[in-house]
Subunit: 394 residues, 2 copies
């Protein structure tokens, strides 16, 4: 995959089209400039708001976020590991069944039954494990996501804890919640190599939802409807779509997507269970505006910050690439521990060049690093320096 | 306008289509059953979620709300007093200008300039003054709204207080904020009879936003874009669309929509300034499910509650038309004082007939009345009895 250095592209800055590409030092795959039509299964989305990397990898443009508390579905990123199932599975949503295993009284439960068991709503940052991959300095394969493989969405469903208690409680010895997606395995392929099956630590059980609604509406097929396992604070891949089986298990699944992929692996190594899984998200933020050259005077410098598995506690902004920092203010309602918080810093900007960066701190005192430890596949980027934006004020 | 008694329509109950009509004692205009196509200016909306009363009055179906924290734009009700302006006014949103008057240094400000002055987001129940009109016992003209001329949406814009301070502050003697909409006045009509110009008390100034985004996206023309004056806690009409002038004034506007319409007038009287304006909303709630006949067993009884100008503090549910009450629990994040809160009461329902009602209390201890004082035009219905739903469990 050809990579181009955006430093050279600074010559193009100042036009709206180049706005999303202005972060210096970001390597962007050549395909990024080639915005094709939306694939049919996400035709309802807003093409103008999106960067189409491929059929299964679609990113939200940075300037779209602004101070959005909630990301609407038609602006939300898409990342599918496997081709989604047929639309027919959302034709009768209430009939979809999920098998609950690793409980005293295992069995299948329909969405209709789940809806009668309990209901809760959580606002959560949904973020692809690879969001920010383009900001790593080392060469990585995989989609060169910048800031837009993330959104803040609200999920409504039944707490898994309620379901498990209705079925007699967790069996002794269980250490993981293992969720299996309902994607069809293409003929001739080894199921374990393709299946979307993820295990997360059992202590996530108290937060997990089996969700049927996103942002107050039935979850679309593209985003995992009719039923998705939501693990607040964990990266996207752990939020298994078309969930057809949830098992409390003693060991992690042996599926390739768990055993080898989505591991934090040293550079040059291959994924294996000896390396940590990509699970909990860490504190992170980025600037959403201004992204373009502008006139001097008062500006509202905006961005988004979240704590991942913790609440975000505060965020600072620097106009000089981290030499000096000022506290920004959160904007709008606090949607809870797992949501992001839009922020703003009002500044009267004199003519000149600014490198604007942001740095958030979570409720446990963890602060974004200047740059994260690199890992082979480029997961979990939460550094503050690389996502900075260069803005010329005249 | 012909009215039919829904008590007779109970014979139809049990089918999904009749679900929204099941509240007994509700008079519904005949046109309600005639769901035509969506008018062109709101073609992007979800017709299946809506009851189309007329071109300018479109209601959200009761069963759509569920436990939605936020109402998506394509499910949100529409109520326009005057035909909206041409789409061209949202072609260059930043260029739209609003005249700020009744300040030390009056003048025009563009949306582009407003965006540089400040930014805030508020979640707010947007509710038509006539929502619930169908629940009044007396005969009323006007759209027979039930529960769906309301939604909870998030507005992003600049606090009017910030704008006013940037322009030297409010002039002495001002007692109202008067907003003027940008609708075109059809030729041959008297401007004062048609213009959408509303005055609200000056003490609302600290909460008012001049908003350009709704739910994180530019406000559509149908909902008042490119700029709308948002008065949290006040009924829809006070949230002036296409705002082109905001004036701090000594007296209320003489426009018909303020002087005569939207007044709480005793039965048989005509509107005039001697009667109170329809301004602040009061505490209110309604059941959103179940609305249909169902099987016995565990059910999640859901609804929405809000405090209007105050925060909502709690809500109770009764299964026997108000004989006995049980506290329900709020679901999901608290979006702030002006937002609604979805609620749930889990109940194991034995076979039988239930009349389900809900009754909310606000942070000041105000509780929904059994029925509000009637007023000629049927504004501000917040009684708990009439919106109840009859559900048969077998």
């Amino acid at each position: 995959m050809e990579k181009i250095d955006l430093r050279r592209r600074h010559l193009l800055a100042g036009t709206a089209g180049a706005a999303a590409l202005m972060a210096s030092g970001v390597r962007v795959s050549a395909q990024e400039a080639d915005v094709g039509p939306l694939p049919e299964y996400v035709e309802f989305k807003d093409a103008d708001a999106l960067i189409i990397h491929s059929n299964n990898t679609i990113e939200t443009k940075r300037d779209v976020f602004g101070v959005q508390p909630i990301t609407s579905e038609h602006q939300l990123y898409v990342r599918n590991n496997v081709t989604p199932p047929d639309e027919s599975i959302v034709a009768d949503r209430e009939a979809w069944e999920v098998s609950i295993e690793g409980v005293a009284n295992p069995g299948s439960v329909s969405v209709g039954d789940l809806k009668r068991m309990g209901v809760e709503t959580v606002a959560m940052v949904l973020q692809c494990s690879g969001n920010g991959r383009a900001f790593f300095e080392h060469e990585t394969s995989g989609t060169q996501w910048q800031t837009g493989a993330a959104g803040c969405v609200m999920w409504t469903g039944v707490p898994l804890r309620t379901v498990v208690e209705n079925m007699g409680g967790v069996v002794d010895g269980a250490q993981f919640v293992t969720g299996t997606g309902g994607e069809e395995i293409p003929e001739g392929l080894n199921e374990a190599d393709v299946i979307v099956e993820r295990s997360v630590p059992l202590d996530a059980l108290d937060n997990i939802l089996l969700a049927w609604d996103m942002n107050g509406e039935p979850i679309s097929l593209a985003h995992g409807g009719p039923l998705r396992m939501i693990v607040p604070g964990f990266t996207g891949v752990n939020n298994v779509k078309y969930i057809k089986r949830v098992a409390m298990t003693e060991v992690e699944t042996d599926a390739l997507i768990q055993r080898q992929r989505y591991r934090l692996v040293p550079l040059g190594e291959s994924g294996s269970p000896e390396y940590p899984s990509v699970w909990q998200m860490e504190v992170k933020s980025w600037i959403t505006g201004p992204l373009e050259a502008a006139a001097s005077g008062m500006h509202q410098i905006t961005g988004l910050a979240f704590g991942g598995v913790n609440a975000v506690d505060g965020v600072e902004v620097s106009l000089d690439d981290g030499e000096t920092w000022e506290a920004a203010e959160f904007v709008g309602p606090d949607l809870g521990r797992y949501a992001w918080r839009p922020f703003v810093l009002a500044k009267d900007l004199a003519p000149g060049s600014y490198r604007i960066v942001s740095r958030a701190t979570d409720s446990e005192g963890n602060q974004q690093p200047e740059a994260p430890e690199p890992n082979q596949s480029g997961y979990n980027h939460n550094g503050w320096r690389a996502p900075g934006v260069d803005v010329t004020i005249s």
